[in-house]
C-alpha cells in the first residue's frame, strides 16, 4: 500500500495563472451541482494534470472533512500542482468569478422581486433543485443503510434536524464523533479477527 504514494509532479507544471483560469472556467460553466464530475473530466482526462488515483484520494478528503467540497477539491488539486500558491489559485478560481456573477444576479433580482410570475418560476426551480440533493442523499443513505448502526445514526441525524429542528452544530457535534468512534472500533475488530 505504501508505495502507491506516487509523486506525480508533471514535468511541465502549469503556471499559477493557468491554474486560476482553469478553475474559473469550471466555476463559471458548471450549473446545478456535480462540480466534482466536471473537475475530474477537466483535470484528469482532458488536461492530465493529475492522475485519477490522486484525484479520487483528494475527493475522499474533500468529502469526508469539513468544508465546501468543491473548494476543498480545488485546494487539493492546486496544492498537488504548485503547493500553497497553487492551492490559493484553485480556491480563488472556483469561488470568486461565480461569486461576482451571483452578486450581479442578486442585484438584478432586487429590481424585479415584486413580480409574482418570477417568484412562482423560482419556486419551481427550487422544487426541482431538491431532486439534486435528494439524489445525493439517497445514494449516501443506501451506503449507510447496509448496516444497523450507520442506519440508526442516519435516522437520528435526520429526525434531530428535520423534525426537532435542532441546530446543526449540536447535532453534528454529537453525532460525528460518536459515529467515527463506532467505525473505529469496528475497523479494529475486523482487523483483529482477520
Amino acid at each position: 500500500m505504501q508505495n502507491q504514494e506516487s509523486e506525480t509532479t508533471p514535468d511541465t507544471r502549469p503556471a499559477l495563472a493557468a491554474i486560476f483560469t482553469a478553475f474559473a472556467k469550471i466555476g463559471l460553466t458548471s450549473f446545478g451541482g456535480g462540480l466534482s464530475g466536471w473537475m475530474m473530466r477537466e483535470f484528469v482526462l482532458r488536461r492530465a494534470w493529475i492522475t485519477e488515483e490522486e484525484f479520487l484520494s483528494g475527493l475522499a478528503l474533500a468529502q469526508s472533512f469539513p468544508g465546501v467540497n468543491v473548494v476543498n477539491l480545488a485546494i487539493w488539486i492546486g496544492f498537488r500542482l504548485r503547493g500553497g500558491a497553487g492551492a490559493a489559485m484553485g480556491a480563488l478560481g472556483i469561488v470568486v468569478p461565480p461569486m461576482v456573477v451571483a452578486i450581479g444576479l442578486a442585484a438584478l433580482f432586487s429590481q424585479v422581486r415584486d413580480s409574482h410570475a418570477l417568484h412562482v418560476v423560482l419556486a419551481g426551480v427550487a422544487a426541482a433543485a431538491v431532486g439534486l440533493s435528494l439524489q445525493t442523499g439517497i445514494r449516501a443513505a443506501r451506503r449507510a443503510a447496509r448496516q444497523a448502526v450507520p442506519l440508526v445514526v442516519m435516522t437520528i441525524t435526520f429526525v434531530a434536524l428535520f423534525l426537532l429542528r435542532l441546530p446543526l452544530l449540536w447535532v453534528v457535534g454529537a453525532m460525528a464523533p460518536l459515529s467515527i468512534g463506532i467505525a473505529w472500533l469496528r475497523l479494529r475488530r475486523t482487523e483483529a479477527s482477520a
Binding site: 468529502q63 461565480p98 451571483a102 433543485a129 435516522t155 446543526l168
Partner: protein, 175 residues
C-alpha cells in the same frame, strides 16, 4: 453600513464553514433556520427565492450564502458572508492536505471516512425536506421534487435542464 449585521453574518457562517460535510446541501437547513427563524433576515418565500437563484447561478451551491449576505447587508454583506463560509474550512483543509497524502491508508482516516457517511446522509435528507417544507405550491412542489429526483437517478438528463423544466412547469400551473 450596519456593523452588527456584518458581525451576525460572520458569527452565523464561520461555524457553518466547518459543518459542510457531504456537500453544500447539508447546511441548507441551518442557513434556513438562522436566516428565517433566528435572525428574521427574511421570510420563507424570500429564502426560497435566494435558494432557487443560487441553483441557477454557476459555481458552488454554497453561493447561497453570498446571496443571503447580499440580502442582509448589500455588497459588504455578500463579501463578509462569502469569506466566512469559504475561508475557515479552506485553511483547515489546506493543513489536512499535507497530512492526508501521508496517512491516507491508515485506520483512523478510514474510520473518519466511514463514520461521516451516515451523518452526511441524514444531513442531506434533512436539507431536502427543509427546502420542501418552505416551498410554495404544496403538493406540486413535492411532485416536481419527486419527478426530478427519479429523472436524475435513472436518466442522464442534464441537471440544469431539470431546473428549467421545474420553473417552466410552475409557471404554467401556478402563475
Amino acid at each position: 453600513m450596519n456593523l452588527k449585521n456584518l458581525g451576525d453574518l460572520l458569527a452565523v457562517f464561520a461555524p457553518l464553514s466547518f459543518l459542510t460535510v457531504g456537500g453544500g446541501q447539508s447546511i441548507v437547513s441551518d442557513i434556513h433556520r438562522q436566516s428565517v427563524a433566528v435572525h428574521a433576515w427574511m421570510s420563507d418565500g424570500e429564502f426560497l427565492d435566494l435558494f432557487a437563484l443560487s441553483r441557477i447561478t454557476p459555481g458552488p451551491g454554497s453561493l447561497l450564502v453570498t446571496l443571503v449576505g447580499w440580502q442582509v447587508a448589500g455588497l459588504a454583506g455578500a463579501v463578509v458572508a462569502s469569506a466566512a463560509i469559504f475561508l475557515p474550512c479552506s485553511v483547515l483543509v489546506y493543513g489536512l492536505a499535507h497530512l492526508w497524502s501521508r496517512y491516507k491508508h491508515t485506520a483512523w482516516i478510514r474510520a473518519v471516512e466511514a463514520g461521516l457517511v451516515p451523518v452526511a446522509a441524514g444531513m442531506i435528507l434533512a436539507a431536502s425536506g427543509t427546502v420542501l417544507r418552505a416551498a410554495e405550491g404544496g403538493a406540486w412542489a413535492w411532485s416536481v421534487a419527486a419527478v426530478s429526483t427519479l429523472a436524475l437517478m435513472f436518466t442522464r438528463m442534464n441537471p440544469f435542464l431539470m431546473l428549467a423544466l421545474g420553473g417552466a412547469f410552475f409557471w404554467l400551473v401556478l402563475a
